[in-house]
Amino acid sequence: MAEVVKKYFSWIPSVSEDVVAAEIYVSEPGGNVTLASMKWRFESDSPQFQNNEVTIPDDLPGFPQVEAIYELGIMAIDDAGNKADMAVVSGPFDFDAPAPMTGLKLSDESYVVS
């Protein structure tokens, strides 16, 4: 059974009282995040919003599988649609477990029990 190392993206929420959602953006591999980047939205009643944390890739379906350094951004949105400045952080991501080893065998001579 292979194992991948999941990652957690967490943040300190906006102090504004009118925030109703958060949008999370991810850059292209090795690039910078922009408003045109791939994004996911979490409403205020979602556990991710309430816990200020998402699990990657579980909570971000379609998150890039290419091993690379990605930039992640998060933006608060209020009930009038105003968007706060984006908070950004970057880090390496690799959700592809290494290929399993093959060709396993026992050496006839080494393991003969007399």
């Binding site: 991948v4 190392v5 009282e17 105003n82």
Partner: protein, 176 residues
């Protein structure tokens, strides 16, 4: 630092041109405390003050026969119409400082009162006891740096802070 943006002016503010019918001498000025950044807003010509700080101060010209002023903020692009921070100012003062009511775009409005309490519901006082509202998006009464120009305020939404990426090994049961 403030940014000035010139955009196409359409309907916004036109309906308010009738304001200041009684006291056209009011000129709105604006002294922002913390202004930076930029934002996009359409359909108006003027200056957008993008404010990150908590307070802004607006000023206006003295009206000779005023006994008081009233000032308020109108949130733009918001339905239903929502006003914030109504303030009553004695005639001896010609400015008021507003704390951030919330994030969003706001137009400042000021009117003159012939009664110190600005009370117009009293049937004994004529409706003319207050002026129309002079609004900051009306180029006929608003100025920026002494130049006739519409202006409005954009209070930024407080950002999320301190994002971090952490990891924890979890068996996923199948990736290879």
């Amino acid at each position: 630092m403030k940014k000035r943006y010139i955009y196409r002016r359409t309907c916004l503010g036109l309906s308010r041109l009738i304001c200041a019918a009684t006291f056209l001498s009011i000129l709105l000025l604006f002294i922002p405390t913390v202004v930076s950044g930029q934002s996009v807003i359409s359909s108006m010509t003027g200056t957008e003050y993008i404010v990150s700080g908590a307070e802004v101060t607006i000023q206006w010209d003295t009206v000779s026969n005023a006994l008081a002023y009233e000032a308020r903020l109108l949130m733009l692009y918001q339905e239903p119409v929502t006003y914030f921070a109504l303030a009553r100012i004695p005639a001896s003062e010609v400015s008021v400082t507003f704390k951030q009511p919330r994030a969003g775009h706001f137009e400042a409005q000021v009117r003159t009162c012939k009664y110190a309490d600005c009370h117009i519901e009293d049937p004994a006082k004529p409706e003319e006891s207050v002026s129309g509202w002079s609004v900051s998006t009306d180029i006929d009464v608003a100025t920026v740096d002494g130049v006739p120009m519409a202006w409005w305020i954009y209070w930024r939404l407080a950002p999320v802070t301190g994002p971090v990426i952490s990891k924890k090994e979890v068996g996923d049961g199948g990736s290879s």
